[in-house]
Symmetry: C3
Subunit: 346 residues, 3 copies
């Protein structure tokens, strides 16, 4: 990449204080950046580093105080501006490859304009791809799968029959969308399989990490709403709804028929029980277990979850249990509680 | 689907009270069902809904009281009858595709009658498929793999050399069967790999969810017995035995050489240590950690596990630890325990 | 396999006491082994079994007391000797297959001598394979991927553009190396994707289990150092460094930018927070949650972690909380603490 400061200011919608014709060709941290690098100040705690900053230009907040000699571009959100700049710098223009002759596309599938179907991808009967869809090698789309415009399906993804994927989505390698939900009924000698006749519906602007498993509904749909982003190895069981713009960090697991509101954040490895509701904006700390519904706006942690502040106090007390048992025993002895001898206090 | 009530009664082995020639074409919940729908009453708590039920017919238990004007079919297990009906309605007759010309089948592999080997599936040397086996696209079966009659291997499954899969099994997308178990011995400078020369053996009527990893034994076999059903992202290490009809919910992980009895149920995210035994019929609550062997028939939860009833009381007390520490401190102060000041009570 | 005792002694660098020409053809446990079997004594607690041992030969430590009539081979590390013997017995000589005509290898890729690129493997533009590299069916290597000598990539592995894999590595089925790290910035209406422009670098002698996800760095590299071994379903987020010879057991998850030292051992299901450091030689018990940095050499367990010995005492006390609350209440009552009535003690 090489951009003039004028170009950068235009790209990020910012106000430049400095020479418009100066160019930068790299991106570095605020302390490492040199005269040919761009850097940014998103976290106020690094503001003192501006004094000695040697960067060619710094993306800063609108009201940030900066040394007069330092070239800066003032924006509303420096981190967002940085991300947009990276996108401009590192996203080559899209060049459609068409359908590779070594891909397997069923004659009844409909492929929109300017798609790229890579070698050894499989597109099933009656599947339907929008415009500029990219299907990488080894991805397998079942019968009747529908994929919206500008969506990218990475290698070795599996999408079972009938599932619906929105526009501008990304699904990373090895994820499996629409496998049968886990449903059985005991028939006296074994577990009889309950047919899973629903689908998975993924709305627009969703990104699914690598190695996810999102199961089809028993009936109806498992629904991943607009703007949801999942990290790697996330599992979503049959019949769940994940509300708009929710974030599910790696190794989260959500049991059947649970509903997440909008903007929910589940930390890594969080487990969610079935048939519960998690309200809009709830945040759950990593490693926590959610066994019951949570009202909107709560911040919770622990196994099982409790208010996050309570958890911070509780988790340190668990380590002091041996001491507490000893103290209680001493109290009992002082009060002549001989019965305490019958107990084992560890 | 469209069935007459007479057909439905015959399919599920039930006694019809109502017009045999009436037809139903949909399946709905007991409150949503209309005159052209079938519904079922499996959970007694919904029985009052029968009074206002408008369904074309309801599957009910043999002894269920029902309004006289409501068409019902009496069966032993309404939920099972419902599942069987769904199966009849949604399972199209199997049509063998044969071996697609774009599949890669080694000349020494033996393919039974009426198999379907989809495009870009791989069947290795000396592999052996029974009758009506379905191998979906992208699945890779190693040398000498054996698959029983009527088994379905979904897209992008990997089965390593020499593993044995039973009849009437289903293995969902992306699962990896028979990768090397995790075995190393430190040689002073690094971890020397212990060859894993055993296999995975999966018996009949097993269903493996998406994204599972079931490792081959160091020697002998990792053994998944008849009727086991695993959910997605389950991990089973080398040398384990999973007893008949056990259920492993999503993200369960079982360490090496552990043995589960028959009919064990492990909730989501349960972790099981290595070299332990879990007795027949044990149930372990979601998110629990099992560090030691468990006698048959126990119901346990927690990290580490304890009797489930004890866990229900204990988990609510953890939240009250800050209060308890305060109370103990007050007791100590009342008894003049000055030494308590030296401690930090959080 | 069939080896003379002389051959075995030479293979493992041991001293034979017994007939060099005697042959063994099987490997069994110390109690099961018969005259045609080899066995080994690695754990001293089984030493008494030597008295009645009927094996053709036993691998034992240099100083082990053994019955005079028993053929033994004395070595420094019997378990390591056993592993080396297994390797010799079960590793057929490597026979290069070349590039199969049904593989898809970009014309600009460079393939070293004696490689095996199996049917339906994909090697992208400008990728570079060393000598004797094995790429199994269904594996997809992106643009510019580099793979060192003697490395084996198992079926359906995905390696994204630009990632670097060392020599003598093994990557098991279904693992995804180099998918985008999980990085977004909220733009007021949705989560804007931060381009992940780094790579994954895997050094020599690394083994990656099945179903792993190791994400590319936001910038720079996610770095798996020499000799690391991961079990199945391990997740490593963007920007992490995993130090030499560390062991990550199944279902471990490590959040972004964390650094593990050399020889770290993380038990199954361990979760590690982001931006922390775990020192050389740290061992973390299975199921634990690591929220803060850990000094070198510590052995810790629990959620959150504490010293392992403390954890062993603490975890048994959690079960006794109901009893403890009762005891404290009794103490309060004896002291006339009426206020305790206002509290609910579970």
């Amino acid at each position: 990449m090489e951009f003039s400061l004028g170009q950068v200011a235009q790209l990020v919608g910012g106000d430049l204080q400095g020479p418009a014709e100066r160019t930068v060709s790299g991106i570095q941290g605020i302390e490492q950046a040199g005269p040919s690098d761009l850097t940014f100040l998103a976290n106020p705690k690094y503001a003192p580093a501006l004094e000695s900053c040697r960067a060619g230009v710094v993306l800063v907040g609108r009201a940030q105080k900066t040394p007069p000699e330092l070239a800066v571009i003032r924006v509303d959100n420096p981190y967002l501006a940085y991300a947009k700049l990276l996108t401009a710098a590192f996203t080559p223009p899209y060049e459609p490859l068409g359908v590779d002759s070594r891909a397997v596309v069923h004659p009844s599938a409909r492929i929109g304009p300017d798609c790229s179907v890579h070698p050894l991808a499989v597109v099933g009967a009656e599947a339907k791809l929008g415009s500029r869809v990219v299907i990488h090698s080894g991805a397998v789309l079942g019968r009747g799968v529908s994929v919206g415009d500008d969506t990218v399906i990475h290698p070795n993804v599996v999408i079972y029959d009938g599932c619906v994927i929105g526009s501008r989505c990304i699904i990373h390698g090895g994820s499996v969308i629409g496998a049968d939900g886990y449903g059985f009924v005991f028939d006296g000698s074994g577990h009889y399989k309950i047919p899973q006749v629903g689908i998975v519906q993924i709305d627009d602007e969703v990104e699914i990490g690598a190695g996810n498993t999102i199961d089809r509904a028993a009936n109806g749909r498992t629904w991943i709403q607009r703007g949801v982003k999942t990290d790697d190895q996330v599992h979503i069981a049959h019949g769940c709804t994940i509300g708009e713009n929710s974030l599910l960090v790696a190794q989260v697991g959500i049991s059947g028929s649970s509903k997440l509101g909008k903007g929910v954040v589940l930390g890594g490895k969080v487990g969610v029980a079935g048939h519960i509701e998690i309200g809009d904006g709830v945040q759950v700390g990593g490693g926590s277990g959610v066994a019951q519904s949570i009202e909107p706006g709560q911040i919770v942690s622990g196994y099982p979850v409790m208010p996050h502040r309570l958890w911070l106090r509780t988790r340190s007390l668990v380590k002091k249990l041996p001491e507490l048992f000893k103290r209680v025993k001493q109290l009992e002895q002082r009060l002549g509680e001989d019965e305490s001898k019958e107990r084992s206090d560890g």
